[in-house]
Subunit: 227 residues, 2 copies
DNA sequence: CGCGACGTTTACAAAATTTTTACGCCTGAC
DNA sequence: GTCAGGCGTAAAAATTTTGTAAACGTCGCG
């Protein structure tokens, strides 16, 4: 029942320091010293939270973050050095949940770990069954049904898949390529016209107007869903 | 038949705002401006759902929540301010069903109210004996007999199994795979043509017409039975 | 054996969805 | 200004899924 935390950092002393502190609070701790090992451990043991250093030799933290975010919403807490403001912003854009600037205190680390895990537990409690709520939108993957302001929507299979994918990553811009790969499969990753057609159909069914809008276009890049 | 909702908040404008919106959607609305009035109204009128502000003078929301939970499982939706993370956790521990952070949009409020009421209706429908009543349909699992508008139906074994399964989950979309696994067994989970044939036979025996309908198709996904 | 009830399979028309195509609009580069 | 490229929309074409009828086979029973 203990929560599993994966620590990714190339500095051995820091890894041990964080690891000992977390283990002392009853968490199960895994460590990786580079990006590739991190991805392997992530797939193998499905941790509940990841603490990820950005600055690493080889596959760096941002790259690891991006790859994990393509397949999972596990909370990720990013570690940055004092002068890496730019990386911090990038990391949040890529879907990091929180960041800590080195050097940091143990108390602060533990507080953020607890906060991140609590958020997850809560969202699982409410929607962990495949039910997702984004503002006035509600999606039930088990029943393949969607509601908007309480009204049931009639969505086809592809329409639902696309909306659900966007909703799972609500607030973030998702690229054409990513959306196409996930909904239509890898061989369709360049067929942008499908997206245009389907986003249009979703907008119509969601009754979007100028003042009430969910689906936003990021020209030249992709789309984003917001509450 | 309208569902009754009790709004508890010390701020008069917010109470009126929420109240008007819910009333406009056809709910019956009651309001209380403090904890004591809330408890009195709760006992007096047995609402179907409670919207409860935490921060109130006098008996606060958490106290009200605790007392109501000692005697009832009515869904309770808690309102908190942006910076009351701690109260939110406490409220969930005490058995709140969901929370909304102020300020919130009307759409989101309505969506959550509908979701909470839907959950209740669904869990009510599941308990009980071997006899199931869904609108003008009655199924007796012990005798394996079914009636429709008082007329006994002549159903074969598989027909009864399928109808009973759909009825037990009335109002929900059930996937092809789920239905096939349950009625025919795991090795038949891809034989969708069985479903087509059997749904067709059930529709005929239930005398379905355009205006009187029980079995609905969710193309590309499965079927649903409704009253 | 012949009959009836039931489950299974097949065939084809109807419906719904997905894919493809066409066209108009807007924006930014030149 | 105009041209190219990305975008939104509508609608036709192609494909997939569904509804329905009917044929087939098996099993139990008189």
């Amino acid at each position: 029942m203990a929560e599993r935390i994966l620590i990714v950092d190339d500095e051995e002393p820091l890894r041990r320091f964080i690891g000992r502190n977390l283990a002392a609070r009853g968490y199960e701790v895994l460590t990786a010293q580079d990006g590739w090992e991190a991805l392997r451990l992530f797939e193998q043991s499905a941790p509940d939270l990841i603490i990820l250093d950005i600055l690493m030799p080889g596959l760096n933290g941002l790259e690891v973050l991006k790859r994990i975010r393509q397949v999972s919403l596990v909370p990720i807490l990013v570690l940055t050095a004092l002068d890496q403001e730019a990386d911090k912003i990038t990391a949040l854009d890529l879907g990091a949940d929180d960041y800590l600037t080195k050097p940091f205190g143990v108390g602060e680390l533990l507080a953020r770990v607890r906060a991140a895990l609590r958020r997850v537990r809560w969202s699982e409690g409410t929607g962990g069954t495949g039910i997702l709520r984004i503002g006035d939108l509600e999606l039930d993957a088990d029943q393949r049904r969607a509601w908007h302001r309480g009204e049931m929507l009639r969505l086809t299979g592809k329409e639902f898949d696309l909306l659900y994918l966007l909703a799972r990553h609500a607030g973030r811009n998702l690229s054409h390529r990513f959306l196409l790969q996930r909904v239509w499969g890898p061989e369709y990753q360049d067929e942008v016209e499908y997206l245009r057609v389907y986003i249009g159909r979703l907008r119509r069914k969601l009754g979007e107007t100028d003042d009430h809008r969910h689906l936003f276009t990021e020209p030249g890049f992709g789309y984003r869903l917001e509450a």
